[in-house]
Symmetry: C2
DNA sequence: CATTTTACCTAACACTGTTAGCAAATGTAA
DNA sequence: TTACATTTGCTAACAGTGTTAGGTAAAATG
């Protein structure tokens, strides 16, 4: 009865080939160049085979978006685990977020629809919630320790995220017109201000 | 010799018809639905006529982007003119920016490529520089008056803009999942924190 | 061995942006 | 008025896109 298992393996292999090829295209030439037909060409199968593995093109994009959200959550978790000081945690989280967006640029663009038509990422709620919880925790701690206990952690989380996302979006837009050093200085400054304001 | 002038007027009229039709499509059905062919259908001309007035589709998008940048600069200018207190100016500018992004949603998406493939907006430098100058001025003033004169206005401007753009981007992403009140509270909080940190 | 399932392909549909080439109308000059 | 040149607008095509209907041949199943 190894036959059907071999078949499953082969099917899985084809699926991986599709995703692998797609990913190579994206990193080489950007999301714009990704097309079902070109994937089919590259894996040396006909076009409808792709649709045996993915409902449509968006389903392929979604796969990468999910990967991105999971990876981001992991990175944030790792960064946070490095210290117990909540202020330091927030700083490390911000760095990790920044690093993720720089290292996995195409993922980030897809996840948040930067300069491209994003895909429906509503289904990534679990991963997003993880991120949210990881950030809200140190914020809550800092608020409790600070002298402004009426501050709303959820609201502050939103602010924190907005700062990061705004910086990264603008950085992505401008290409390399502004040096990374300056960009990082802006982030440092913004996060320092944010943390200071929590007290 | 009014003939050639009439012709020019008619040509201009057709150009307006193209832009007007395009804009109606965008507001009715989003950027995604905008196509040269549908514009041609709507104005009851054949497709190549569009190309007599615009080099390509991007040139049409660019027209709206430029309009957006100009309008934004105007709104910011008006908001700033309402007071002479730099802190208050920054608050009013932030409100105006927010209001612009809400009122001219499709413009904003196009200008910064949110959830769509944006167009080359590098040519809008004058309008962008206007915005930049309008914001940097009160920031510089505040820094000079404050007790942290070594702060870099340019860097702070970048931070200010990032906060606003981040908030708006995230708001746009989430659709109506978060109420406008909360969104505005986040902005108020973030801007207040930013201004406080300038001193 | 017959039947069903699976794998896979060709060819099409309905779109997209863009352009070559032609025909008719109009303007200009002899 | 006639001859030429320009403008205006069109049809039809090219080269892509995502997606799917329908058919064939191989493989697995009863």
């Amino acid at each position: 009865m190894g036959i059907s298992e071999r078949r499953l393996r082969e099917k899985e292999k084809l699926r991986s080939a599709i995703l692998g090829t797609a990913w190579r295209m994206v990193t080489d030439e950007g999301w714009q160049s990704l097309s079902i037909r070109r994937i089919a060409d590259a894996i040396e199968y006909s076009v409808p085979v792709i649709y045996d593995h993915f409902e449509n093109k968006e389903a392929i994009l979604f796969e990468f978006a999910k990967e991105g959200f999971q990876l981001l959550a992991k990175k944030i978790e790792e960064a946070k685990a490095k210290t117990k000081d909540p202020a330091e945690q927030l700083r490390l989280i911000a760095y990790a977020y920044w690093d993720f967006a720089a290292r996995y640029k195409e993922h980030y663009k897809l996840m948040y629809g930067l300069g491209m038509q994003g895909c429906e990422v509503e289904k990534c709620l679990p991963e997003k919630t993880t991120f949210r919880k990881l950030v809200i925790e140190p914020i809550t701690e800092l608020i409790e320790k600070g002298n402004n206990p009426k501050a709303n952690p959820c609201l502050k989380y939103y602010t924190f995220w907005s700062i990061l996302h705004g910086l990264i979006s603008i950085k992505n837009m401008r290409g390399n017109a502004v040096s990374d050093e300056i960009n990082k200085m802006v982030m440092d400054d913004a996060i320092a201000g944010f943390v200071k304001n929590l007290n």
